[in-house]
Symmetry: none
Subunit: 208 residues, 4 copies
DNA sequence: CATGAATGAGCGTTCATTCAT
DNA sequence: TATGAATGAACGCTCATTCAT
């Protein structure tokens, strides 16, 4: 789906406001004003507020699906290198779209637009399949543990990232990182998160 | 704060509806109806919808603060045993109040009632202090690593629990656990979560 | 159903505006203003604009049903006297509630609220049954024609009254009755209509 | 006024939708979609929704005016034969354009576009003049009653036809005519209506 | 000549809250 | 103390219409 300039503005404004105020809390008036368009435009372009949310979701996830699969096929990497590449990919992507990630987290708890819920579930399923294959491969090669709970492993990755995003202001203050620019801080956070999650995944996957 | 029967009913109804529909999505009418009281009661007893949320928060967290501190003072336990006890405590508590936990997670992302945000921050700070002490103790005893990022460690615990709660239906289906009763499943989930988090914490804290 | 003062005001305002502007043309804001109440009152008391229409219909027709049946049982009257009494009753009633009658006529053509449509049909059916009995009685007594199309007879009565109501301003002007007071004119119209319809019914029912 | 193909499509769609949903109930979007044209076309071709209604009215009535006058001048017919021819003409025409007739009936009650109202009045006036002459002629020839209320006579004709159109579904069911094709039923209805109205007009016009 | 894009106004409805009782 | 009645404000959405192209 290709969107024109105004549609993109609306989607961006919606992303910001849904992330900040929630779906119910962000009124179409707010969104229209933030996007610098007439209120009627939202219904005109997207049909309804719900459909706008779905469009936002589609827009932000459509390109994602292919990336994970590509990784799997790459035969130049060892099993754990693949896992590390996967973590790199997820952390990079989620930290790069924090607003949207917040929306998805809350959407899974409240509001529960069925279209989105279904799409999220599909995405999760796809993720699980790919990662399960990846892990099975490592198990066959004798590198990974026999028993791995992939769901919990994913929960740890997504959960840790989510909590880091939510608590980043406090994290910054706590570690005296106020002097860093936003960009520098984000890079540091990414570095720390990557090391942390990779350490955890090593513990989960590899017998000591 | 002591609440009478009707007030308790309101708080319980609010907890359920805030967790299900979000703060904005749950109307005072819904809450009043679910609680079996007059609409005006909510403003009458709590002042406003926001104040009701604050009362709910206070009611659900007031007793919590003492428990962590008690743990710290217990001298009969080794450092990592203390960490394990702490994990036991958190997992037990959060899994035992999933509805409320969902509210808090979303509240940190959206709506952002300043009173609650501040209280959550205080709670986090308290947690951090206690755990930092606990870890420092272990470090001095030479059992724990020198460098531990407590924030990330906490993020992993809370994040993993949260993701497990959010994705429990999918987890159940994925692992073919539909035949279990709700209670049995919750117990299994708790067992798995505990083992998983303790494994992670060991990896974080203890050098191999 | 008993209505309080404000509800009655709303129903009356609605009757006037629905008759003047049609159901779609009359906004709840118009009605609320005309009734001197807050806009929200209409949804508050009646649930919706549609339900308000239904309430109006119910309010204006509930007492009607009994009257026709009473007539049938009256044994002191000859068949055609009964028919005349029936015409008296209908003309009296419809001319006495012209606004409402207009609404019903248009409602049968457009908008077609299913609840009302069904109720109108039931009313028609009841009418037809009673009048059919009345006519059958006259036929058995040998006073009325053998073949009478009751539907067309009713169509003539209702149609003539409706057209007279719609065209009353033009009728008044055409016959130079501007000097009459509204009340006097209504009485004259009723007199004329009664004589006219009775003449027609005699032609329909009685062989020359 | 000559209309191009698209304009004709718009007028026909408007006729159908105005008759079905009323003027206010039928949106220009509905009409444009039904006509298979762009929304902007309606304003572009007709100026506004109101003007479209006026164009529809003009289109459907312009050819009518001449027919009644022609009848009057025909000297080959007796007075009551002329009346019968007139009834034939009206019933034929109205039953042949039921949709439009419904619009006009409702338009006289609600919405009240002044242009149309004025035109309807003119049409009525013209009708009345012609029929009055026709009746005066019959009175002079001693065939018709001295006192005839032409307005009520017309009200009976139009009203009976209108009611028959409105209630045709019920009429069909009541008389067990469901097996007839739509065309057959319409022909039967016309036959019945003609006989009925002519009977009534005889009663109105001719002394027994 | 014809239309996609756009809009201000208004729609019916629901909201959290107030207040007289 | 408890509540039914009531309300102003805001909700998401659709309306007829305009206008640049």
């Amino acid at each position: 789906m290709e969107y024109n300039e105004k549609q993109v503005q609306i989607i961006e404004a919606a992303e910001h406001l849904f992330a900040t105020k929630g779906f119910e809390g962000a009124s179409v008036r707010d969104i229209a004003e933030a996007a610098g368009v007439n209120i009627a435009m939202i219904s005109y372009y997207f049909g309804s507020k719900e459909k706008l949310m779905e469009a936002l979701f589609e827009e932000r996830t459509s390109h994602v699906r292919l990336r994970v699969e590509a990784l799997l096929k790459d035969n130049s990497l060892e099993p754990f290198e693949k896992v590390e590449a996967l973590v790199d990919d997820y952390v990079e992507r989620i930290l790069g779209s924090q607003q949207f990630h917040k929306i998805i987290v809350c959407e899974q708890v409240i509001n529960k637009n069925p279209v989105i819920l279904k799409a999220v579930l599909q995405l999760k399923k796809k993720n699980m399949e790919v990662i399960s294959k990846l892990i099975k491969d490592g198990q066959q090669k004798g590198v990974f543990r026999k028993k791995v709970d992939v769901s919990l492993m994913m929960a740890t990755m997504f959960g840790t990232i989510t909590q880091s995003i939510i608590g980043q202001d406090y994290y910054r203050e706590l570690n005296g990182l106020e002097s860093l620019s936003e960009k520098e801080f984000q890079q540091l956070l990414k570095k720390k998160l990557l090391a942390h999650i990779k350490l955890l995944f090593k513990a989960i996957l590899i017998e000591i």
